[in-house]
Amino acid sequence: MLVGVKLFATLRRYAPEGNELGEVFEVELPENSVIGDLIEYLNIRSGEVKVSFVNGRARSVHYLLKEGDEVGFFPPVGGG
């Protein structure tokens, strides 16, 4: 199945070349993959992802993905 991915802040370095900030890139994953599988597929070091969104909702690493989901990953960020 295909899912869309967006990477932000220090996670930008895991994005494919030419991918712009805020732009979605597609990833092909086996059926029944969870967020944790996607993080592993992208070779993101463990612990670097602090918050994961699926279609605008924060979800845990165990969340089951489905075709067409849009996933956003953030490292620890703060501000105000």
Binding site: F8, L21, F53, A58, G78, G79
Partner: protein, 586 residues
């Protein structure tokens, strides 16, 4: 230590000993207590009976990281209630080192239009006070005037002043303080305190701390141990550490995460996502600077002794400085909320706000309401720049816009007024982030994100997690806990951003409390420190009640109940009892 009173009616002054009852107070706790004790809550904010109080925090000026905050308090011309607005600036530790626990500005000149500079310097064994006419500095750009002040009074001074917005008495005017490069860019921005200072004919308050003795510790050794605990936490946490999130991308690193969550207010709070978000985010500022200067530019400190260093600078194509600093709130208010996705234009708008002495949040939100009412289209960069010039120059239109979000909505007949107690909302959509909505509604300050920053658990997974979209009664408890802790933190003189580290690292929180103990010779526990924060809030609320604010003022705007917010299509649906529970169970 002293409390210094400046009487602007006859330009006299008086040093007083600090009363016993104020010994444990500093920063917000002290400004709010003095306002509560001395100001008639029914007075006009710009009349002779309001007072303006300056107070550094309890540990400000001591050897402690990220602690150079200065609180300014008064009755707000924007909300009609009590106001405390704090800034990070070298002015704060300078004041503490001169052993000035507070400066209280009273009265006003009988002749309106008279402006004065007050210089406080150290002479012999105590501060010396001089009043000088300041009329020559009025009506001008603060970027032009600050260098003249340094030229005249010397490079070692610390500067606080108001721009034309304060002179005109705008409810959206702030008080400007110098940053580390002597620019007029650090603001006690919210609530119109610039107008209170302007109404008193006080154009500049200057400090020269040369020769001052420095702060006094009850137990300096214990203080060192406590400050070290806090320092370790700040250096360890991913958000606050050097080259961490804040140091690399600044506060505008939040743009994308709020946008992703559908909680990024766009075009006067019509939607929760902005298609141009990525262009105005902290990452975009970092990449733009890298492209334009040929190197990675990390952020700088707004004030001495800060280890977080989150203040950015935006550079132009030619490598010149456009402005410092573009905060998250400013990028949003003058960007997404106005439908503007041009980073250079936002930089110019921030620069103009600094030049005229305007609060970037209130100014942006007011322009957003004007755009939503058809005065100019959303996304109209030239139109927005022109409106800021109108404010700064005091045209009839500018004077109306300077009245703030509520005034603009009323004048233009628009029910979509994103404000609480008249104060424009900051950059988090309360329909999509329920806890911050409770803070906006119930804070003694009007809509203020810093008053109880539930964004930490609701968005950032800091200090636990809380589902932002859950319309849950527990949001009252969450907001209350944050508001109480913040009232204490705002009294210590630390920047609110230490919260990211100390909410996750318990020894950092202990360090903060133990610093206060070592400074004052008291024995607060974590719990009693938070309870002290609660006492401060109750005093602020009592002032507001006496000023005429009721629980009906502790509500979100009505339009948020009937206009669903995309992309989650959520409305404001917390029952009134949730808002009332915040103070009801404090």
């Amino acid at each position: 230590m002293w409390i210094l009173r400046l009487n602007m009616t006859d330009r006299s002054y008086k040093f007083e000993d600090v009363p016993e009852s104020y010994a444990m107070l500093g920063g917000r706790g002290l400004t709010s207590t003095i306002i509560y004790d001395e100001v008639d809550p029914t007075c006009h904010p710009l009349g002779p009976n309001n007072k303006l109080v300056f107070a550094p925090g309890i540990v400000t000026g001591a050897a402690s990281p990220t602690s150079a905050r200065l609180s300014v308090g008064g009755k707000s011309p924007l909300t009609g209630g009590i106001k405390e607005s704090n800034a990070g600036t070298s002015f704060a530790p300078a004041m503490a080192k001169m052993r000035l626990k507070a400066v209280i500005v009273e009265g006003k000149p009988e002749q309106s239009g008279e402006y004065w500079t007050v210089m406080i310097s150290w002479e012999g064994d105590k501060p010396k006070v001089e009043f000088m006419p300041a009329d020559e500095y009025t009506g001008k750009d603060l970027y032009e005037v600050f260098p003249q002040i340094y030229e005249r009074f010397g490079k070692k001074i610390h500067v606080c002043g108001v721009g034309t917005a304060g002179e005109f008495g705008y409810a959206n005017s702030g008080i400007a303080f110098n940053d580390m490069k002597k620019r007029p860019t650090r603001y006690s921005g919210r609530g119109g305190l610039g107008a209170v200072m302007g109404s008193k004919g006080l154009k500049f308050l200057l400090l020269n701390a040369e020769g001052a003795p420095g702060v006094e510790y009850a137990d300096q050794e214990a203080f060192k141990v406590a400050a070290k605990k806090l320092q370790v936490a700040l250096n360890e946490h991913a958000i606050t550490k050097p080259k961490g999130g804040l140091n690399s991308y600044g506060t505008a690193v939040l743009v994308n995460i709020l946008n992703e969550a559908g909680g990024f207010p766009t075009r006067n709070f019509r939607t929760g996502r902005f298609e141009g978000a990525a262009k105005i985010a902290g990452e975009a500022i970092f990449e733009t600077n890298k492209k334009r200067t040929g190197k990675e530019v990390y952020n700088h400190a707004c004030s001495p002794g800060c280890v977080i260093q989150c203040s950015n600078t935006l550079y132009s194509e030619s490598g010149d400085e456009i402005v410092s600093c573009i905060e998250y709130e400013s990028a949003w208010a003058l960007g997404a909320d106005c439908g503007i996705d041009d980073l250079d234009a936002i930089g110019e708008l921030v620069r103009l706000c600094n030049a005229y002495g305007l609060d970037t949040i209130e100014t942006g939100v007011s322009i957003g309401v004007a755009m939503d009412s058809g005065m100019i289209p959303f996304g109209d960069v030239k139109g927005a720049i022109n409106l800021v010039h109108e404010m700064g120059k005091g045209t009839p239109m500018g004077r109306l816009l300077g009245g703030g979000t509520g005034m603009v909505g009323k004048a233009l007949g628009n029910p979509r007024i994103p404000a609480v107690k008249g104060q424009g909302m900051p950059a988090y959509e309360p329909r999509a982030v329920k806890g911050i909505g409770v803070t906006y509604a119930t804070s003694t300050m009007g809509a203020d994100h810093t008053a109880g920053y539930t964004i930490a658990p609701e968005m950032l997974s800091v200090g636990g997690t809380s589902d932002p979209l859950a319309s849950d009664v527990a949001k009252a408890d969450l907001s209350r806990a944050f508001q109480m802790t913040t009232a204490f933190l705002d009294s210590t003189g630390h920047c609110l951003f230490i919260a990211f580290a100390i909410l996750d690292i318990p020894s950092g929180f202990e360090g903060m409390v133990e610093e206060v103990n070592a400074m004052l010779g008291v024995e607060l526990t974590n719990d009693s420190a938070v309870a002290l924060g609660g006492e401060i809030l109750k005093r602020e609320r009592a002032f507001n009640e006496a000023a005429g604010l009721t629980k009906v003022d502790d509500r979100l705007p009505e339009f948020m109940k009937y206009e669903p917010l995309p992309p989650h299509n959520v409305v404001s649906d917390l029952p009134d009892e949730v808002f009332d529970k915040v103070y009801g169970e404090m």
